[in-house]
């Protein structure tokens, strides 16, 4: 079957159609028509994914469906021949990702159709939204299906562009556009890093004798990569370093930019000024999902790169912790959720770091479900109370929006990892257990402690959201009439319902064996996700199931969730005074957290301000104007002017007598020279 190519092609074609309508013909379709086109295309992709999936798990199938469209870039001869195949590979990992992306993608698009219809902030901008969303989804699908590193990089860049435009959808608000632009520019660092990662592997393989396109070949060549070395720069101490390590470090840089991991996490918390549907896409299945997918895809590379793996784990855990803490203090509900995303993705990278890529994928799935769900739900809430996003101006909304309240609850329980029937619960379980049993990591104990604290803080922050918004006393703005508050329209409700179902049902695909053994009687291969993905990933870490201590870590994880959730309820609903006291006690911390640890300004200060200062003050006004232009253009002109206009000109006195004198002087020289020459 070669229909795999249509999975990314359908949304991309939709994007192209929208783009032509807007950008060339200047026609805007209504939200309903434009949405229908996009939803149709994504749903078609979903359908194709399902068909392909069926084919993949069917009895006669091979381990992947490869759809080779052609060669994209073919260049060079011999061992350094570069072949970039436009080739799609529907293997288990890609299958999971496709289903997830198209599934959650269609749901969120349906939601957006409902959400955007009443939006009066942008006149006739709906089609633009669907154009960007189609592009984003198409690019993401291409990314997960790409069977070539370079193609993946291309898709990765495209995801970055689509994210930029989607997050900057409300382009007339300068602050939003600014945040989106920052996200994009940071992403370009990641793109560059990926190109670098590819380049080092390419040359390592070319020197070793052969470079072949495709991830399968790359995976087979991983011993070569581990054996080949590069030199560290001198200022990093020198010495050889395996190519795998270098490549993984570069990949990690790309991951950090795209997934908003520390220290490049600031943009994620700020880029919330977009329609909720866009946030759902960005925060669940596309932008922040791509890094996890990439790390999983390259798990064979990480398996050979202990340093980079450890760095990934530490990056993940610190981000998880910091993100969770920051989200505890935020007032803007969307900002809470955004920081929580960073935190959740951080968990996944812990899994990558400890060599449990399946757990990372499962965490991604869980995150997609429950974060999508709560974003939609809170979007509905916000829409209901007149676009008010301040948690302290909500309260008791659950009594009016009772259908929404169910969805919020399901999401909260999953995120807080508090209920053993939710996807989130099992995902966290797996990560904590995997990290717990892998004691080879440097700073293992601290890492585990941070991980568990992060879990706790996550639970706290998410419960805080539900407590402040749906319970307690109402504090809604006076402009909103309480009586008219009601649940959103059917499109939104149904999409939320779908995600809620997935949040619950998703648990079934990735339940750890030991939990399955506990909960059910005899299920073989309970973690079907893990088994399904096994051909696609390389799990460096040992299987945690049978190991001693697995249960203790599992228990701790469950406990920590509850330990985080309950105090939140208690504090925010029962003891507001105590809350205020605590807040004032740790005012410095609270203020810091409220400002997102100043991570976003730090990015500006670290990356942009120095560049501008260097460029503006030193180069443009210093080097360029003074040295280069001064020397080459003005300088040469001045030299010529002074030569000609100065002393050379003063020799032309106009006096015939002096001309004769000059002639005689020259003649004297001529005479001396000729006499001298004639003598010998």
């Amino acid at each position: 079957m070669t229909s795999v190519r249509f999975i990314p092609a359908l949304p991309l074609l939709a994007a192209l159609f929208h783009g032509l309508m807007i950008g060339v013909f200047r026609r805007n379709l209504s939200a309903r028509v434009a949405g229908a086109i996009t939803v149709g295309s994504v749903a078609g992709a979903l359908l194709l994914s399902v068909v392909s999936f069926a084919e993949l798990i069917g009895p006669t199938s091979e381990d992947a469906i490869v759809d080779r469209v052609g060669t994209w870039i073919g260049l060079g001869i011999g061992s350094s021949a570069l072949v970039v195949d436009l080739s799609l590979r529907f293997d288990p990992l890609a299958a999971v990702m496709c289903l997830l992306i198209t599934g959650v993608g269609s749901i969120s698009l349906v939601y957006s159709v409902g959400d955007l219809r009443g939006d009066e902030r942008e006149d006739r901008g709906e089609q633009r939204f669907f154009a960007f969303a189609s592009l984003l989804l198409g690019a993401m699908l291409l990314l997960v299906l790409a069977d070539d590193f370079v193609l993946l990089i291309a898709a990765w860049s495209a995801v970055g562009v689509a994210t930029w435009w989607l997050l900057g959808f409300w382009y007339r608000d300068d602050a939003r556009v600014r945040a989106a632009t920052l996200a994009f520019v940071l992403g370009r660092i990641g793109d560059a890093a990926l190109i670098g990662a590819f380049a080092v592997t390419f040359w390592a393989l070319a020197e070793a004798g052969s470079y072949e396109a495709g991830f399968v070949a790359l995976r087979q060549a991983s011993p070569t990569l581990a054996a080949a070395t590069l030199e560290w720069p001198v200022w990093l101490g020198g010495g050889p370093v395996p190519v795998s390590e270098v490549a993984c470090l570069l990949v990690l840089l790309a991951i950090a930019t795209k997934a908003g991991q520390l220290p490049l996490t600031g943009w994620l918390g700020e880029a919330i000024g977009a329609p909720v549907g866009a946030l759902v896409l960005v925060h669940t299945v596309t932008t922040v999902a791509a890094p996890i997918y990439l790390a999983t895809r390259l798990s064979f590379l990480f398996a050979d790169a202990p340093f980079a793996s450890a760095l990934a784990a530490w990056m993940g855990v610190t981000t998880a912790f910091v993100g969770a803490l920051v989200s505890c203090a935020q007032i803007d509900v969307l900002r809470v959720l955004a920081w929580s995303t960073a935190s959740q993705i951080g968990f996944a990278f812990v899994a990558i770091g400890v060599g449990a890529p399946t757990a990372a994928i499962f965490q991604l799935i869980a995150h997609a479900f429950h974060k999508g769900l709560i974003l939609m739900a809170m979007g509905a809430v916000i829409a209901a109370i007149g676009l008010e996003r301040d948690l302290w101006r909500m309260g008791n909304l659950g009594s009016r929006l009772w259908r929404t309240r169910i969805d919020v609850w399901i999401a909260v329980l999953s995120i807080a990892a508090a209920l053993p029937i939710t996807t989130g619960f099992f995902a966290l379980e797996q990560i904590v257990v995997a990290a717990g049993v892998d004691d080879t990591l440097p700073g293992h104990f601290v890492l585990i402690a941070l991980l568990l604290s992060a879990a706790s803080a996550t639970a706290f922050s998410i419960v805080r959201v539900i407590a402040l918004s749906l319970y307690g006393d109402t504090r809604i703005p006076s402009s909103v009439r309480w009586d008219e508050l009601e649940d959103p329209g059917p499109l939104i409700l149904w999409s939320m319902a779908a995600l809620a179902a997935l949040t619950i049902g998703g648990a079934l695909i990735g339940m750890p064996q030991m939990w399955a053994d506990l909960l059910f009687s005899d299920i073989q291969n309970a973690n079907s996700l893990q088994h399904f993905l096994a051909p696609s990933v390389v799990a460096a870490g040992s299987t945690p199931d049978g190991q001693a201590g697995a249960w203790s870590y599992a228990g701790l994880a469950a406990l920590m969730g509850v330990l985080g959730a309950l105090p939140a309820f208690w504090l925010y609903l029962q003891r507001p005074r105590m809350l205020a006291e605590i807040t004032s006690r740790i005012g410095w911390l609270h203020r810091g957290l409220l400002r997102g640890m100043d991570l976003e300004p730090a990015l500006h200060r670290l990356f942009i301000a120095p560049v501008l200062a260097l460029a503006g003050r030193w180069l443009a006004r210093g080097v360029e104007e003074r040295v280069i232009e001064g020397l080459t253009l003005r300088g040469s002109a001045r030299v010529v002017q002074s030569l000609a206009g100065g002393w050379l000109r003063s020799a032309q006195t106009g006096s015939a007598m002096l001309y004769i004198a000059a002639t005689i002087a020259v003649g004297l020289g001529l005479l001396i020279f000729l006499l001298h020459a004639s003598r010998g």
Partner: protein, 557 residues
């Protein structure tokens, strides 16, 4: 196997624009003589110019592409007419993979420039059209010439129209800018002439007509420069100038035009002051000739010093990329911003050229075309904006997506192309160049990549400040969006950018053989032991080692 005349399409290409211009002049004179009018009406000039340039493009696209054999190395579709045989000057034109797409780009840009400047030129329109046509002929001559004298002639014939175009139609400081431009061009020409003459002197057998043909001319006209293995390092002995010296003459000549970074000061000025349409031509085609010259002359004629100095020049290119990108980041004027970006891009091209490696060289050729189309599209868009608002200052804009959505979308696409995003052909070029730069170590490659990050930074920032955000400036509120003429001009440029970005195969397939041929020539002439014969130089009496010409220069390996 000497090439024979393989058709006249290239001559038509070169002759059509200038011929049209001359015909128009003659008709105008006739008109003047018969009816006493001041010349032909301007609209006839404009239409005839548009028609002729379009025809040239069609001729190029159909005539060349149809007969161009991607598998063949060396110049194709050659036409050879002895012109001044005693001087070794022949009318010898041909096209190969390196020049093919630059030729197509050139022919494509001229009708677009005509269209884009439809409303921008309000005086001396006849001169404008006339100069444009001469410019096109000159540019095509440079790209197609296979004889160094012809090349030099066309090279010089190129900058004169540009001088007038800048000086007559430019901005406030146009005269100064035009003068600077002409000085730089003259200096470059001087270096080039020294180098070309020396090359032919060192290659030719004493007493015979000087060797000026690059490729092998038909039988009876001696070997081509590339057939005669002359510039052996041994030649450097004595007072005769050696190849290193020559190489630097070439590098200086072409580096001034490219412009390589310490010699770049004229470009932002020229691009900032020239009329926007001409700016597009200068940036898109004019300065490409520098890089083309490096590929055509500096590398194959001086392989040894090229290999020896390639790391240093690559280093210079990288410094240039970073430097230009950083300065671009603080520009306040759109035209100058594009100019600085251009310098950075050309730095990337030079980096690719001096990778001396098939990826980098091919990437450079591709990036040249890609940059040409992108920069032209950008300048056309800037021109449309300037036409409406009268300024290119970035602060004057903001929020244009609201009144001019088509403009914003097209600008956004151009900006993406400028950043080297995938799905634009610029990615293919930049990617392969960067890839090849990694072959000399990750540090080099990563530094080169830093330039692309900076480019993303300032382009995204610029796009935000021009197209996004609130419409703060009241003058921007009522701006009229691009009309169909303007849209088409940009879209026509974007289409190949995207098409070849997605499907670069046809380009690569045609470029790569020529690049391989270039590398082969370099290797042959660098490594093969050369048959050397001693003889007395008549006028000095010193002994020189010269390479005998009648020996087949096949490598003996």
């Amino acid at each position: 196997m000497p090439p024979q005349i393989e058709g006249h399409v290239l001559s038509w290409l070169i002759g059509l624009p200038a011929g049209t211009a001359l015909a128009l002049l003659a008709l105008g004179a006739l008109h003047h003589a018969l009816f006493g009018a001041r010349g032909l009406p301007e609209v006839i000039w404009r239409l005839a110019g548009l028609f002729s340039t379009t025809l040239t493009f069609a001729l190029g696209a159909v005539g060349i592409l149809a007969d161009f054999d991607p598998e063949r190395m060396g110049p194709q579709l050659v036409e050879f007419v002895p012109w001044i045989p005693s001087l070794g000057v022949h009318y010898f034109v041909g096209v190969d993979g390196i020049s093919l797409f630059l030729v197509l780009l050139t022919t494509l840009l001229f009708p677009l420039t005509m269209l884009a400047s439809w409303k921008q030129v309000d005086r001396s329109l006849r001169s404008f059209v006339l100069l444009l046509m001469f410019l096109e002929s000159g540019l095509l001559g440079v790209l197609l010439a296979q004889n160094t004298a012809l090349f030099f002639l066309a090279w010089q014939a190129t900058w004169l129209p540009l001088f007038f175009l800048i000086g007559i139609f430019g901005g406030a400081r146009r005269v100064r800018t035009a003068t600077r431009f002409v000085m730089v061009s003259a200096l470059a020409s001087a270096c080039l002439l020294v180098a070309l003459l020396t090359v032919s002197h060192l290659s030719g057998a004493p007493g015979s007509a000087p060797l000026l043909d690059l490729a092998t001319p038909p039988a009876g006209f001696g070997p081509g420069l590339l057939d005669s293995a002359m510039l052996d390092p041994e030649m450097a002995r004595g007072t005769s100038p050696g190849p290193s010296w020559l190489f630097f003459a070439f590098v200086l000549a072409f580096g001034l035009m490219i412009p390589l970074v310490p010699f770049h000061a004229w470009l932002p000025d020229a691009l900032g002051e020239a009329p926007v349409a001409i700016t597009a031509l200068i940036a898109a085609v004019g300065i490409k000739l520098g890089a083309y010259g490096l590929l055509r002359f500096a590398l194959p004629l001086c392989p040894q010093p090229a290999a020896q100095w390639a790391p240093a020049l690559a280093c210079l290119a990288i410094i240039g990329i970073l430097y230009a990108s950083l300065i671009a980041a603080v520009q306040t004027d759109l035209k100058r911003l594009v100019a600085w970006w251009t310098i950075a891009q050309l730095g990337l091209v030079v980096l690719g050229i001096f990778s001396l490696e098939v990826h980098g060289l091919t990437g450079s050729v591709i990036l040249l075309s890609s940059h040409g189309m992108t920069v032209a599209a950008l300048y056309f868009l800037v021109g449309a904006a300037v036409e409406r608002r009268g300024t290119a200052e970035i602060v004057a804009y903001g929020g244009l997506a609201r009144p001019m959505p088509v403009f914003a979308v097209l600008l956004g696409l151009c900006v993406l192309s400028a950043m080297g995003m995938p799905a634009f052909v610029g990615f293919v070029g930049a990617f392969t160049i960067v890839l090849s730069s990694f072959s000399s170590g990750p540090a080099v490659g990563l530094t080169a990549l830093a330039g692309s990050v900076l480019a993303a930074g300032y382009w995204a920032w610029t796009f935000r400040r021009v197209a996004l955000g609130p419409v703060e400036n009241a003058e921007n509120r009522g701006l009229i969006d691009l009309d169909w003429r303007e849209r088409c001009v940009v879209i026509v440029l974007l289409l190949p950018l995207v098409w070849f970005g997605v499907h670069p195969g046809p380009v690569l397939r045609r470029v790569e053989p020529s690049v391989l041929e270039l590398l082969r020539q370099m290797d042959d002439r660098r490594m093969a032991p050369l048959p050397i014969e001693r003889f007395e130089r008549p006028d000095r009496g010193d002994e020189f080692e010269l390479i005998r010409l009648d020996v087949d220069p096949e490598p003996t390996s």
